[in-house]
Amino acid sequence: MLRIRKLSASIDGKPILRGIDLDVRAGEVHAIMGPNGSGKSTFAQVLAGRDIYKVVADEVTFNGRDLLQMAPEIRAREGIFLAFQYPIEIPGVSNLYFLRAAVNAVRSHRGLPELDAVDFMSYAREQAKALGIDDAMLKRSLNEGFSGGEKKRNEIFQMTLLEPRLAILDESDSGLDIDALKIVADGINAMRSPERAIIVVTHYQRLLNYVVPDYVHVLAGGRIVRSGGKELAMELEEKGYGWLEHERSECKPDRAQPSKNEAVTS
């Protein structure tokens, strides 16, 4: 589904990702872990199409198509979803209005009829229940005045409504108490299916107790320094990220190598 070769990204000339290789197949759950500043969020944002980064790669394909050539809204319509670490507040725009605009944009791209306000309301209510989102929260301005937990639940809710093919969850667990964490984890697990892939980006192993990954990758200094099964997460929890530092130092600094494909998202 997702194939990444030598993905590098920089901002204002400062490199953040330094050549990432990753393959994600349908049905898989990958966890990307790593210390603060390792490039986890940048990686998530670059996949969603954030245009503040200069992106260079040999290959980034999504279902065989060049992802870097797609505008962010096209990626979303093609099935990529990013749950934001810090969801944006938009005063004056109701959550419901925003959600319907998003769902209908994706639906019409997929050749499905758009939902009117009434149909959408009943569809949204049904999905909202499981995440503990009530009518009041649907009608409030998008993320405005939401607590940290409400914002994260609202992101998972959006994912549920948009039914992505590849969901990227950026620190969807941070700042949550155990009850909220379980709700978020249940929401993610409900999305697991043989047709869908999920990338969970997290600093802590905690969420992975509930959302058990097939693969765990450790990102450090903008590179994947180790990959393994779910037991790698346990190891990290025990030992911290320090024991990987030597592996990081073994990595050679970037060389300015000509790559096959270059793309600057804009």
Partner: protein, 451 residues
């Protein structure tokens, strides 16, 4: 100097030839009022940018055109386009400043007075009320356009609510500007008189229907008796070549309350002067404004709230969205008189610039002659938030729709506070279409077709 005199002479000549045909021409008090208006206009001349109040708004484009007094032309081509359907709410419709009985609809048996000024002046009782109020709140000695209007006004809406009467349906005053083959000026003059403890909602709208140059020079006076509650909505949608200069003066007695909601979408040059005198203990006004400007256009909102008595309060929020090379002006004066203790005034001006070339001049102007007051003002100027745009795009929403959502969110604070659903819905739609394609066409506006 000589050219200025020439221009003024043109209007002096127009006045001499038309004054005999204007409403109330047999009423001596009105004759005197009109004459004073003309004299003041001739003495003042057109304002220049040297005047503090007109610093950012150059009316030279208005001065350069000779506007003929607009004629009451046959409306056959208009009626089809307007598609006015029967409305539960009473409405007075004026075309080029003249009353249109065919487009208007006033139910019989109303227990308040609603009629056009021309007709009201023929009724001695109404004329007596009008005499007490007309020109009392809008002075002519220091406002050239108001002076000009006072001399020339052709007709307008008159509403008088008796003491204690609450009018439930919103009342619509609609002013249509339609091509009559030459640059023309329309001079509507409105008067709202709300008796003690009465309540009324008025929706005043200006719609331009052609692409030639014209001027709407309008004045509305509002008199709120003790405890009266008035909701006043103004919707300005003039044509791209239309000039719009408006003076609105409200006078509030003890415990009276005025909520004004002014939106501007159209016009080449728009100037609104909204002045509120809180001339009674505990009087309150809320002034909300929203203007969306694009292209080479200019919208200038000047407001002045005068706290004249103790315990009066005011809340003000004006929001501007500016695109292209548009210019916006907000000047909000708050005056607190010596004896106006416990004044409570809050003013905000918030602006969203959608292009680098758009410009906003926002200026609070506080004159406080009392220590026992709470007075706050703030102004912000911002751009479209790139993070918010990306967030929306990452959900599949394209650039145009994303801008529409953000502008709607920005305008929502004003639009959501509108208590008349048809007006609220229509303004929402107008703002959306403004984001897509700039100033909306009056032909597309249907909000007065109340359901």
């Amino acid at each position: 100097m000589s050219t200025v005199l020439t221009e003024q002479n043109i209007y002096a000549a127009q006045f001499s030839s038309m004054r005999g045909r204007l409403p109330g021409n047999r009423l001596p008090w009105l004759e005197r009022l009109r004459q004073k208006g003309m004299d003041d206009f001739l003495a003042l001349g057109f304002p220049t940018t040297k005047l503090e109040n007109w610093k950012y708004t150059n009316v030279a484009p208005i001065r350069r055109i000779v506007f003929e007094p607009a004629q009451d032309r046959p409306l056959t081509p208009l009626t089809g386009t307007l598609e006015i359907v029967s409305s539960a709410s009473p409405r007075l419709v004026f075309v080029n400043g003249w009353f249109s009985p065919t487009l208007s609809s006033v139910n019989s048996g109303l227990n308040f007075h609603l009629l056009n000024m021309g007709q009201a002046l023929q009724d001695p009782d109404r004329a007596g009320v009008i005499e007490r109020h007309l020109g009392r709140y809008t002075g002519t000695s220091d406002q050239a356009f108001a002076a000009w209007n006072t001399a020339f006004f052709t007709d307008g809406a008159y509403i008088e609510i008796p003491r204690g009467k609450a009018v439930e349906q919103p009342i619509y005053f609609t002013f249509i500007s339609a091509d009559d083959g030459k640059p023309r000026a329309c001079y509507p003059r409105n008067l709202i008189v709300a008796g003690e403890g009465s309540q009324v909602t008025v929706v005043e709208s200006f719609l331009g229907f052609d692409d030639s140059a014209y001027l709407t020079n309008t004045v509305t006076e509002i008199a709120a008796g003790p405890g009266a509650v008035i909701d006043y909505y103004k919707v300005e949608c003039e044509s791209p070549q239309g000039f719009h200069v408006a003076v609105i003066d409200a006078h509030l007695e003890r415990d009276a309350s005025l909520t004004s909601n002014s939106t501007s979408f159209g016009g080449r040059l728009v100037r609104n002067d909204l002045n509120v005198a809180l001339d009674g203990k505990g009087a309150h006004c809320t002034l909300n404004g929203l203007f969306a400007v694009d292209g080479q256009r200019l919208v200038d909102n000047h407001t002045r709230i005068e706290h004249m008595r103790p315990h009066a309060s005011s809340r003000e929020l004006y929001k501007g969205v500016l695109a292209g090379n548009a210019e916006g002006v907000f000047n909000g004066a708050i005056v607190v008189r010596e004896n106006a203790q416990k004044t409570d005034a809050v003013q905000y001006s918030k602006n969203l610039l959608l292009s680098r070339d758009a410009q906003i001049n926002t200026k609070p102007q506080l004159e406080i002659r009392n220590n026992d007051v709470r007075c706050f003002h703030g102004a912000t100027i911002g751009q479209m938030d790139a993070d918010a745009i990306f967030y929306l795009k990452s959900r599949g929403i394209d650039e145009v729709e994303a801008s529409r959502i953000l502008v709607r969110g920005f305008g929502g604070e004003i639009i959501d506070a509108i208590r008349v659903p048809t007006v609220r819905n229509e303004l929402e739609r107008l703002l959306d279409s403004w984001v897509d394609s700039g100033a909306p066409e009056a032909r597309q506006i249907k909000y007065w077709e109340a359901s």
